[in-house]
Symmetry: C2
Subunit: 356 residues, 2 copies
């Protein structure tokens, strides 16, 4: 019975997969000529070029990428490695925006973006350095696993860090976190706050360390008898800030520089639980300026970092490296900016500031 299946069956799966040879035959030229047309080589006569292009267009032919990358040793795929634990990864709006910038650059430069998220399996280093898969990759440089670092350093596939890595000889792009910390504290001091606390980011990251450093530098310089107890540990996530608020209030702080907008929201929630309002009772400045975290109630004053832009730039750095593999490692530091909204109380305190 099965044997009675009509032969029209074969028409269902066309399996017509086109290739250079078929196009060449249709155009009455050789395979090489078609290849040259596709790759925009100069030495093709105008008539032939047009004829071939017409056929390619009409048939919808697209060259096989596997074959192409096997031969040319270029896959035109670049990787994005996010080596953080999956649970915290996407509750932080930083990563989506970063990914967006990177994806946009890949679109613009006609690259395919492969996404690697370190999960339960530890062989992400294997996958990323696997031959013939990626031309290079961009890697978020927080909490890199030892085995992963070793793997990528031993391979000769180019990569660019996002965020300053521990070994600063590698190419990386980052924002000026120290300046960001300074800007925040200076603004609070300008507004007349007396006792300014800091809830840190994850101090295993350079971003967390540097934001703290900026805070400390300004506090030590401008506030006599600066008390290190005004610093509380956080981890960039909301809950960590929520928890430490009561202890800070007990110390009598009137403003807090919080190392991420997520945590700023946690802090505001913690203050609300204590019946305290922002900015009337306590002034708050966050860090990141990423939607939707800033549109809390009240709107957050924060330090803007151009995440989307440096995701884009990271790809460009990588592509440069691919063009010229012997180029020097490149380090780029992007600027940050104070964005004044409601949570710092600038509007209420403006007149007071004017007096100085």
């Amino acid at each position: 019975m099965l044997g009675s299946i009509p032969t029209t069956f074969f028409f269902l799966k066309p399996m017509t997969s086109l290739n250079l040879i078929k196009i060449a035959k249709m155009a009455g030229v050789s395979r090489s000529t078609v290849s040259r047309v596709i790759n925009d080589h100069p030495n093709v006569s105008e008539g032939v070029r047009e004829r071939v292009q017409r056929i390619i267009h009409d048939t919808g032919f697209q060259p096989n990428l596997s074959a192409r990358s096997l031969r040319s040793r270029r896959s035109n795929i670049i990787g994005l490695v996010l080596p953080q634990t999956m649970d915290t990864l996407f509750s932080d709006p930083y990563f989506p925006v970063l990914t967006q910038g990177i994806a946009r650059a890949c679109n613009d430069y006609k690259k395919t973006l492969a996404l690697f998220i370190e999960g339960s399996d530890k062989d992400i280093g294997q996958r990323v350095t696997q031959e013939g898969l990626l031309d290079g990759f961009v890697v978020q440089s927080v909490k890199l696993q030892e085995s992963f670092s070793k793997k990528i350093l031993n391979s000769n596939i180019p990569f660019v860090f996002i965020g300053r890595p521990d070994d600063p000889r590698h190419s990386f792009i980052d924002v000026d976190n120290i300046k960001g910390g300074k800007l925040a504290v200076q603004h609070l001091l300008n507004l007349g706050y007396q006792k300014i606390a800091h809830i840190t980011g994850d101090l295993d990251t350079n971003a967390g360390k540097d934001r703290l450093l900026g805070y400390q530098m300004v506090m030590q310089e401008l506030t006599p008898g600066f008390d290190e107890n005004l610093v509380c540990m956080g981890d960039f996530l909301e809950e960590s800030a929520y928890k430490v608020v009561p202890s800070l209030i007990q110390k009598g702080v009137d403003a807090i520089f919080v190392a991420s907008d997520q945590m700023a929201r946690g802090a505001i929630r913690g203050l609300a639980d204590l019946g305290l309002r922002v900015p009337e009772d306590v002034g708050i400045i966050g860090f990141d300026d990423l939607s939707p975290a800033v549109s809390a109630n009240p709107m957050l004053t924060t330090i803007h970092q151009p995440v989307r832009e440096f995701g884009y730039k990271a790809v460009e750095m990588l592509l440069e490296k691919l063009e010229n593999e012997d180029a020097q490692a490149q380090q780029v530091i992007m600027d940050v900016e104070l964005i004044i909204r409601d949570s710092c109380g600038a509007k209420q305190r403006f007149i007071e500031v004017e007096r100085h």
Copy 2:
């Protein structure tokens, strides 16, 4: 002068890229045998297998993926297509979580995930259907571009929709949005609210339509003289809800079912601007239950949809399709759940409900 470049130059680029032949020579066997070992073919004697595996391990050899997929016609890369405009994409926590579920499945099944975000360039359909790049892809089915739909339907590369597409003959996975809408409204009615409004999602999407439908069904059945004017248009994003709050308050509503948590936050902010508190003055229920949107102040009562899980499941459906290309299209609807927190006022109104 150039001719005087020392020949040691050649040593700089080791170009030692291993391949089957080199491994074969080291092991004293043929290329085929090495290939068999790598692919776990049964017909290899134990001694040879161990010897070859040892060399592979010691050298760190990994087969070239381009060559492999050229020959086997399997790239082991699957695509994720997010065909929304880039600006709104990542301000919605839905997409990061979805991506996370998909990435996890790709890890588990040893697939590489390629991310395609529809940007300014319109040739995403070209890229996705390009031969030899993807084995298949998963596509978020909101607002598909005409040209894109045509492209993927004409190609014979398998795909699975996330969210019910307009043509329900395709494989897709979705949640029961109608039930979600019903659950929300029923809960508000149970709590004794009298005038329940709805701020819709983007009504160009089936999710937006279905949540509205669930609302309408319950309201028409259980509230006599249901007023269609209680429905306001939104687009899933915060700002759209923020704007319509005043008009709803004028109509005297005492509760709002909002079609996304993002919008729920916008609504709460809008109410705060009018001096109204949630849930004391107005009860709110959202939809999504995605961190961090739910940890607003107050914590959101909302409809939970298992976004991470259905991202994962979508990949599994795609992989099944790859195994068995002639299989029937598959449609999967996942369940939703009411999560009671603070914004609906259940705690305050509990006793009142008990009386009934």
